[in-house]
Amino acid sequence: MPGGLDPIVMFFGLGLLAGALKADLRLPPAIYEFVSTLLLLSIGMKGGIELAAGGGGGLPLQIALTLVLGILLTFLAFFILRGVGRLDRVNAAAVAAHYGSVSVATFAVGVAFLTRAAIPYEPTMPLLLVLLEIPAIVIGILLAKGLRSDTPWGEIAHEVLLGRSVLLLLGGLLIGTVAGAEGLEPVKPLFFDLFKGILAIFLLEMGLIAADHFGGFRRHGLFMVAFALLIPPLFAVIGIGFAALMGLSPGGAILLATLAASASYIAAPAAMRQAVPEANPALSLTASLALTFPFNILVGLPLYQRLVDWLLPA
């Protein structure tokens, strides 16, 4: 299927199908962690290698704009959820934190998509991914609780800044930068050659997990479905705008659009559960996992590529 979907998204479909049929295909949690560890390190190291090769121009501006983007998207999501969706403050803030933040799995599929299409992208993208993960969570908590003194900021900072994904991405980035392509040659078979296969396994599991969450829809109504499917293209367009401000290449713009369009389902849920336990965790997870994630990898990526072609002509 050249030019079309990456065959690895079929693994997601297989997982979805198995999950919908209530088949017992679940991978053990240990494998999920192993596979995600490999993916996070790979993505980080790939970026680091490119940085070492001298590809990190304009970084301070990119960093600043990424933080602004994260804050902007969270506020936007919050006001839509409050204004249009009529969610109560706490739940609107929690969902907004998810959509302002990012999904590493979506990013990984985006990287595979670009690799397949042979489109290069900025090596700083894994760093921007980390940066985009965090502000939404802080803003989300503030929107839910205000500046109350009993928010355990220390614990939340620990949870978010020292979470698996942040540490593995930044660690990989650092190792890649210091060691360079040549130094990492011996670990290439595991971290780079197996990347797509490992991602396929990961997507199989994601399909199963997404299927688990479909049940949540009945309860949460049409608004949340619309939100989960319409926010991605909207946020992608905003992401493309920021990519233009940063002067990113088309590949970088596609990835930034994808990140903006994606919704967190690991870091944000964990932080919200801790800081805003009154919020209904199923609401955000259902939208993020069962709708936004599949939408982004199945429909979103090719769409964002066209949008970039159209909005940012070379």
Partner: protein, 104 residues
């Protein structure tokens, strides 16, 4: 029940969300518990099905053997802190122990 073990204590069992593990340990320490045991679990209750995903078990099962006053403090504190917003269930039993000094 004489003859088997020397002293009577309470066994408090708590089933709750596994993400609370660290938090709960901090509470137990602050309340003065001398020890506890934790294992992974799954289950169903008012808050729905809780089965294991993504490397984290859904629930944990915490056991604390302690004297009656501490058992009461544990129950009170956990109820205040977690009942409103978390999936949590607790129960208490009588147990006999060999070395009462180990269980305050």
């Amino acid at each position: 029940m004489t003859g088997v073990a020397e002293s009577h204590r309470k066994l408090v069992t708590v089933i709750t969300e596994s993400t609370l593990e660290r938090d709960l340990e901090r509470e137990l320490e602050a309340l003065g518990a001398g020890g506890w045991t934790i294992s992974d679990a799954r289950g169903r209750g008012d808050k729905g099905v809780r089965a294991s995903h993504w490397g984290h078990s859904a629930n944990i099962r915490v056991e604390v053997v302690c004297d009656t006053p501490l058992a009461e403090r544990v129950l009170t504190r956990l109820r205040e802190k977690y009942y409103a917003n978390y999936a949590i269930v607790m129960w208490v039993q009588d147990v006999e122990v060999l070395r009462p000094d180990k269980f305050r």
